[in-house]
C-alpha cells in the first residue's frame, strides 16, 4: 500500500491544505475504459457504509467547475491533446480541493473512480511528455491504496461489443486517428493506455487486480485489501476521554 496517515502530496503541496487534518482514507480504483470500475465502486460503497464508514464517491469529469465544459468540448471536433489533459487536470483539481480534501478532513472514505493515472495514461497514449504530465499532476494526494483493474485489449473489446454495443469516439482515441476506423483505432489506443498504466504500476505502487475474474471474486479481493487499511496498526493511538 502506498501510504498511511498522514497523507502526502506527490510533489507540489496544494496551497492552504494541512495534511495533518486529513483523517479519512483515500482509495483509488483505476483501469481502462469499460473494465468494470463503477460496478465495483457501487458495491464497495454499500459495503463500507454498512460497516459504518461515511463514503464519498467521485470520479473523472464530475466536477462542479469543469464537467459541463468537458462534455461540451468532447462534442466538438477541436479538442487537442494538451488541452484535454489540462481540462481534465482542472476538473481533478476542483474535485480534489472542493470534495476530496473536505471529505478527508471530515473523516470520510473517499472512493474515486480513476485518479491522475488515467489522466496521465491518456496523455502518454497521445505522446505527451511523461515528466511534464507527472509534474502537472504533482498536486495530487498520495492515496492509501490504488487498485488497478487490469484487462487486455481483447477483453475490453468484448466488453464494449457485448455491453454498450458500439465504440466511443474518445475511448477509441479517434481524435488522434490511431487507425483507419473506430475498431482499429480503439485497439491501438487502448493498448497504449494499458501500456502506460502498466508502466506506472510499480512506481506508484498499484495493487493490480486481474479484471478478467468474475466480479464477485474481484469484489472480495478488494474487500480484503480495504479491510487491511482499517486494521489496528494503521490507526493512530488516541488519548482516552472520560
Amino acid at each position: 500500500m502506498p501510504t498511511s496517515n498522514p497523507l502526502q502530496f506527490y510533489s507540489e503541496p496544494l496551497p492552504d491544505v494541512d495534511v495533518s487534518e486529513l483523517q479519512g482514507k483515500l482509495i483509488v480504483i483505476e483501469g481502462p475504459d469499460t473494465v468494470g470500475r463503477s460496478t465495483q465502486i457501487s458495491r464497495l460503497r454499500t459495503w463500507l457504509e454498512q460497516q459504518g464508514h461515511a463514503v464519498l464517491d467521485t470520479g473523472l469529469a464530475r466536477s462542479a467547475l469543469a464537467s459541463n465544459g468537458i462534455a461540451k468540448a468532447k462534442e466538438g471536433n477541436t479538442l487537442g491533446p494538451v488541452t484535454m489533459t489540462l481540462f481534465y487536470a482542472t476538473d481533478f483539481a476542483d474535485r480534489l480541493e472542493n470534495e476530496i480534501v473536505p471529505a478527508l478532513r471530515a473523516g470520510f472514505v473517499v472512493l474515486t473512480d480513476r485518479y491522475i493515472f488515467s489522466l496521465m495514461a491518456r496523455g502518454l497514449a497521445r505522446s505527451e511528455d511523461g515528466g511534464w504530465l507527472e509534474k502537472v499532476a504533482g498536486f495530487a494526494l498520495v492515496p492509501h491504496a490504488i487498485f488497478y483493474l487490469r484487462a487486455d485489449v481483447p477483453a475490453l473489446v468484448s466488453r464494449v461489443v457485448m455491453g454498450r454495443g458500439n465504440f466511443d469516439f474518445w475511448e477509441s482515441g479517434m481524435d488522434m486517428r490511431f487507425g483507419p476506423d473506430m475498431y482499429e483505432s480503439y485497439v491501438r489506443y487502448q493498448a497504449r493506455v494499458i501500456r502506460a498504466l502498466d508502466g506506472m504500476a510499480g512506481k506508484y505502487e498499484f495493487t493490480t487486480i486481474d479484471a478478467s475474474k468474475p466480479a464477485d471474486l474481484i469484489f472480495r479481493e478488494l474487500q480484503r485489501h480495504i479491510n487491511a487499511l482499517f486494521s489496528p496498526p494503521k490507526r493512530r493511538p488516541r488519548a482516552k476521554k472520560a
Partner: protein, 243 residues
C-alpha cells in the same frame, strides 16, 4: 532543459506583456497593423479567449469557484486550446502570430496567488517560445491612473479579491497589480524580455518596437520566409517603413 518549447516553424511569435494599463495592447495592435500593411500574414491571439473553455471560465468567475490551482489550470487549458487550434497552425503556415499576453501572464499572476513557481513553470512548458517578447515597464501609479480613470468597474478576480489583500476593491487591485509588477520585473532577465519604457509617448514606443522587430525578423522577411502577399515590397521594408 528549456523553459518553453522552441519554435521550429517558419512563422514567428511576437508577444506583449505588462500589467493592466501599461499600454501593451495599443502597441501590439499598431505593430500588427504595420506588419499587415507590409503585406505580411499576421494572426492575432488574445489571452483568455478560447471558445472551448469560455463557458467554464465564466462559470467559475461568476460563482467565485476558483482556487489558485484551478484558476491557474483553467487559464492553461485556455492557452493550450489557442495554441493547439490556432497558434501552432498559423506558425506552421508561416504567419507572424501576435499574442496579447502570453504564458508569462500566468507565471506572474498565479505565483502571486500562491501557486508554486516551479509547478506553474512546468505547467507552461508546452508553450512555444516567442521569437520576441516585449515587456511594457510602467510605474504602478501610472498604470493605475490609466485604468482606474477610464473604466467602469474592476472585476473580482482582476482585482485579486480572492487573495483577501483588502476588502476595498480598488485597494486590492492596487496591491495585486503591485505584486504582479514585481513578478514581471523578476522575469525580465530569465525570460529575455525586451523592455519598453511605457511612460514614453505612444509613437516613441512604437518606433522602438518596429526597430526591434526589424533587427530580429528583417532578414527572414526580406528573404520571403514569412508568409506574405505576392509582390509585397519586401526588399525595401527596412529602409522605408520604420516611421
Amino acid at each position: 532543459m528549456p523553459l518553453l518549447t522552441p519554435n521550429r516553424f517558419k512563422g514567428k511569435l511576437l508577444i506583449v506583456e505588462g500589467i493592466d494599463g501599461s499600454g501593451k495592447s495599443t502597441q501590439l495592435s499598431l505593430l500588427a497593423q504595420w506588419l499587415r500593411s507590409q503585406g505580411l500574414a499576421v494572426a492575432f491571439s488574445e489571452w483568455n479567449s478560447s471558445p472551448l473553455v469560455r463557458e467554464t471560465t465564466k462559470r467559475g468567475k461568476k460563482k467565485q469557484m476558483f482556487t489558485p490551482t484551478t484558476f491557474s489550470l483553467i487559464h492553461a487549458t485556455d492557452f493550450a486550446d489557442r495554441q493547439e487550434r490556432f497558434i501552432l497552425p498559423m506558425l506552421k503556415a508561416g504567419a507572424i502570430v501576435c499574442a496579447d499576453r502570453f504564458a508569462y501572464t500566468a507565471l506572474a499572476r498565479d505565483v502571486v496567488r500562491g501557486v508554486s513557481p516551479r509547478w506553474v513553470r512546468n505547467l507552461y512548458k508546452f508553450a512555444i517560445q516567442p521569437n520576441l517578447a516585449f515587456y511594457f515597464r510602467v510605474p504602478l501609479e501610472v498604470a493605475l491612473g490609466r485604468i482606474l480613470g477610464g473604466r467602469d468597474s474592476i472585476k473580482y478576480y482582476e482585482a485579486g479579491m480572492d487573495l483577501n489583500l483588502s476588502r476595498r476593491i480598488e485597494e486590492s487591485f492596487r496591491l495585486f497589480q503591485g505584486r504582479i509588477l514585481d513578478e514581471y520585473e523578476g522575469m525580465v532577465q530569465e525570460m529575455g524580455f525586451h523592455v519598453i519604457d511605457a511612460t514614453r509617448s505612444i509613437e516613441e514606443q512604437q518606433m522602438e518596437m518596429r526597430r526591434i522587430v526589424m533587427d530580429h525578423l528583417g532578414d527572414a522577411i526580406a528573404a520571403g520566409q514569412i508568409l506574405h502577399k505576392e509582390g509585397a515590397f519586401r526588399a525595401n521594408i527596412q529602409s522605408t517603413t520604420v516611421l
